[in-house]
Amino acid sequence: MNLNIVPLKFSNDPLLRKLTERLSIYFDEIKIFYTPVNIEPAYNPARRQYHSTKILESIIKSNPEESGLYLILTELDLFVPVLTHVFGEAQLKGRFSIVSVCRLYEEFYTAESNPKLVLNRSIKEALHEIGHNLGLYHCRNWECIMHSSNNVEEIDTKGLFYCKECSEILKSSGIKHPTAT
């Protein structure tokens, strides 16, 4: 299975490189796929945030031709109505997902930079949304990457891998080494 990473308003090249490297154990091929995505309809001026569902709709409409999954990686602050923010969103059992690193940056909370921590958080959120694409729901295991995380502390608490039960489900999904730990 292939993964297409779509950088959108994303300037952190070292993070993109390292994240790609880390995700490569799960995919046959990872492509960095630059495609124009219209983010204007997703912008909410009152909240100064972007509606993640609308961004996903926009890329789905453009019907990109590459096979495999699509992961939009952005530094935009995302929301869905009702909630103050989201770290990402994915089509459950679909091909498209989005992850925002905006609130994964340590600077967002403490004004101190910590690239290693951001990389770990990004890996976890990317694999979490990909997990939803592959049919996984939130997992009760605190160690599992599919555990629901509503704040960075929870992201930091959970592990970097899928738990045994989730890995079992992923075995038939087409990704490589779902049981990697």
Partner: protein, 454 residues
């Protein structure tokens, strides 16, 4: 695990979709509706564990919908969502049965926690109702087994007595199960949510019993390093079971009488008056009337304690319960000791039936337990029982066990039963051997409550 079902009601499609998607990722089963009427239609089709309602909707408001949902299913958790916080509306929502109230936009952490806690609390509430239902049903303690008319009468009495708060006196030989009956009365009474406290009056000296019953203050006597609550105080709200009441000293009898009448007492060495609300159940295997005649038991206390009497018959008077009890203990100890003994042989059962059981049910229980410990085959055999020879019925069907059950009626009952069992309950043949009319035999069978043991 059961999937929780959530109903989302909001007039904005985008909000419904966002919430649906958000909760689907959690593994919940979601349905959504754009207004109150549609929500009620969906609600009438199936049960929901939780409903998330927008407060402001065209037509039916969230508050109106909340009331209607609560009318249909009061166990459904309702959480209201509103665009702006309004304290009076929030209070009204909570008064009308809403679990909580969130303001848009809500922090995902907060929303997830509220929903998770609400579902957990709903689960506990339903479990609690189920458990209370179980407690509220009439409980017969596991060991109070038997189908004899005598036993049925006792169960009926327990039922009747449990509904009242009257003092009960249990009379019966040692090992008949007086404590079990006391527990059954307590467990079926309105006091069941409070403790039943047992005091064996015969096991304690006068001063120890007083301190045990009434408690003591620090320094009341040598060794009283701390203030200690007495059994009457601990039994507050519940029942106190005083076993072997006949052995209580004259001094303590006076104290007891005062406590029973006033429900107030002082701890030993104390001045503070302690109040306690308890029910008294007493038990004795002594002839209290004789003790009164001998001046060893106070008459006024006797009348206070003897409001309702339950006489528990000795096992030899309800021999049809022996196989039921024996099998009950067989199952209990066989499982407990992980032994594969599943049966009692015909010969062993005959021995159990012909034995006089001076130690009553307790002795039967110990006999079966011992038989299971030493038993080698998959059924209990006569050799495993080790019953005392002297307590066996002799050839002609009589038994002389010493103190009890040797009246003429006892002898007649035993002999008739022996003849009936010996002739496989053939009435004509048994009547012929007994040299009485068939109808007389029928009358005797009814009189003694005899039953054929299968």
């Amino acid at each position: 695990m059961k999937e929780n079902r959530i109903l989302i009601v909001d007039d904005e499609k985008i909000v419904r979709e966002s919430l649906t998607h958000w909760f689907e990722e959690e593994g919940y089963v979601i349905e959504s509706a754009e207004n109150g009427n549609e929500a009620l239609r969906i609600f009438s089709r199936g049960k929901f564990d939780l409903a998330l309602l927008d407060m402001k909707m065209p037509g039916m408001t969230g508050l109106e919908l909340l009331r209607k949902i609560k009318d249909i299913d009061e166990n459904c958790i309702v959480i209201l969502i509103t665009a702006f916080a309004s304290v009076p509306t929030a209070i009204q929502a909570l008064k009308d049965g809403a679990y909580d109230y969130v303001t848009k936009p809500v922090d995902p952490d907060e929303l997830n926690n509220i929903v998770r806690n609400a579902l957990e609390s709903r689960k506990l509430k339903i479990e609690n109702v189920e458990l209370k239902k179980q407690i509220d049903s009439f409980i017969i303690p596991e060991n109070l087994v038997g189908e004899s008319p005598q036993m049925r009468k006792i169960i009926d009495l327990i039922h009747t007595v449990a509904e009242t708060d009257s003092t009960v006196m249990l009379r019966g030989e040692s090992g008949t199960g007086k404590e079990l009956v006391a527990k059954a009365i307590h467990q079926n009474s309105k006091r069941k949510y409070f403790p039943i406290i047992t005091v064996n009056c015969g096991a304690l000296s006068e001063s120890l019993l007083e301190s045990e019953l009434f408690g003591h203050e620090k320094g009341a006597f040598t060794g009283a390093h701390f203030r200690r609550k007495g059994k009457f105080e601990i039994a507050n709200g519940g029942t106190i079971f005083l076993d072997e009441i006949g052995s209580v000293s004259s001094k303590t009898q006076v104290e007891l009488l005062r406590v029973i009448e006033s429900k107030k007492f002082n701890r030993v060495g104390g001045n503070e008056m302690v109040e306690s609300d308890f029910r008294i159940i007493t038990a004795t295997n002594e002839p209290l009337e004789k003790l009164i005649d001998d001046g060893k038991f106070r008459k006024d206390l006797y009348y206070r304690l003897n409001v309702i009497t339950i006489n528990i018959p000795p096992l030899r008077e309800r021999i049809q319960d022996i196989p039921i009890l024996a099998n009950h203990f067989l199952k209990k100890y066989s499982e407990l000791m992980n032994k594969g003994i599943t049966d009692i042989s015909k010969k062993a059962l005959d021995q159990l039936l012909n034995y006089d059981w001076p130690g009553n049910v307790r002795e039967l229980e110990n006999t079966i337990e011992r038989a299971i410990v030493i038993g080698k085959s998959d059924s209990i055999e006569p050799d495993d029982l080790h019953l005392k020879e002297s307590n066996f019925t002799i050839d002609n069907g009589f038994s002389f066990s010493g103190d009890n059950g040797n009246s003429l009626e006892d002898m007649e009952r035993k002999y008739i039963l022996k003849v009936l069992n010996g002739n496989n309950w053939n009435i004509s043949k048994s009547a012929e051997i007994l040299e009485i009319e068939r109808v007389t035999l029928y009358n005797k069978i009814n009189k003694y409550g005899l039953r054929k043991i299968k």
